[in-house]
Symmetry: C2
Subunit: 218 residues, 2 copies
């Protein structure tokens, strides 16, 4: 194994997930910032496309492996470095963790991604107000259902008292929702769990504001 | 274990994935149609929300288990009924299969879902032509990258010569793209693999047109 390098961006939710997972597992990594705005977006450069033709961050290079898709990366980390399992082995909890993580990572996040918001403003000429409502709409759709489910599953964290993949997906999504001034007071469990998680060192060190490329742009 | 019931809709890509997986594994199931258009969408009914607060299909009831999120359902099926594994055990292939499946199920499908197209037409008052371009845009974004990756991974199917989760995600996405008249001639590997897959009995029996609720509406 050579060195471990994470290509990401401070405000990318998907990169944020991978930083949390690496930190939870105590795995060291270097970071390369792919500026998603500057020069029309460095993720579109020919050089980056060699790493990821999808033109999205994150990409994790772990020795000989070049990996994309944050959930697939985290599963790889879980299977390769099983010390702190983010997806539990018990079948019922295993299914539940995956489904709840996907409730965030599939039903919410892809709709509120930078490239989607850019398409709304650009090609569709949608007003800032309508774009903002779009953002809020998908957060509320997703978080309403999630809050209902967490009422049954949560302990200190989303599923019981161990940190899981759901937590790894939730914190970046809440961070993002706060950026867009979404009122989350209707989701007391989501708020409580997020507060507990943000007290953990692995989450603190993964926060956008403390990354080397923080404030490099929106 | 009691009976197995799939709540879905003939044209739902995510339900289509689960039908394929069940068929590949030789698991019998009953179907309950949740009409996504009629009466403002039966997925929004109080009764269905008891099964799935996310108000999305599919839901699989397998004995005591009530499962949502098609990818989590298929992982559950793979782990519970491992006869024909859709996600292989070998670490490299395992990662690759998950990442490619997510390239479709996360980067493409959520953006072109019914509820998103309804939001574009409704709340955003986007014209049919612009909505169509939106649809085509995300297919081309996703399929361009996928075609590049399949050049390295494909054999008879998306990853080598065994049917995997990638194939299970690809066929419904291609079906959907064809409905929206997307020109797929620039993706010869996607077209070739899809044609091979559609020759398989498990895929044929999962096709939207042969479901009991086919042509019940768009």
């Amino acid at each position: 194994m050579g060195e471990r390098v994470l290509y990401g961006y401070w405000r990318s939710s998907a990169a944020y997930r991978v930083r949390i997972a690496l930190n939870l597992k105590g795995l060291s990594y270097q970071q390369r910032s792919i500026h998603l705005i500057k020069n029309g977006g460095e993720q579109h450069s020919a050089e980056f496309q060699q790493l990821n033709p999808n033109q999205l961050v994150p990409v994790l290079v772990d020795g000989d492996w070049v990996l994309n898709q944050s959930l697939a990366i985290i599963d790889y980390l879980d299977e390769t470095y099983p010390d702190q399992l983010l997806t539990p082995q018990d079948p019922q909890r295993r299914y539940l963790v995956k489904a709840l993580a996907q409730d965030i990572a599939i039903d919410v996040h892809p709709l509120n991604n930078l490239r989607v918001l850019q398409y709304l403003s650009g090609q569709l000429n949608v007003s800032d107000e309508d774009k903002n409502q779009w953002y809020h709409h998908w957060i509320h759709q997703g978080f309403s259902a999630l809050e209902t489910r967490l009422a049954a599953s949560s302990g200190q964290y989303c599923v019981g008292d161990e940190v899981t993949l759901v937590d790894v997906c939730l914190v970046p999504q809440v961070y993002n929702a706060n950026r867009f001034n979404v009122d989350l007071s209707g989701y007391p469990i989501i708020e409580r769990v997020t507060m507990s998680l943000n007290d953990l060192d692995a989450f603190k060190r993964a926060a956008p504001e403390v990354q080397p490329d923080a404030n490099a742009g929106s």
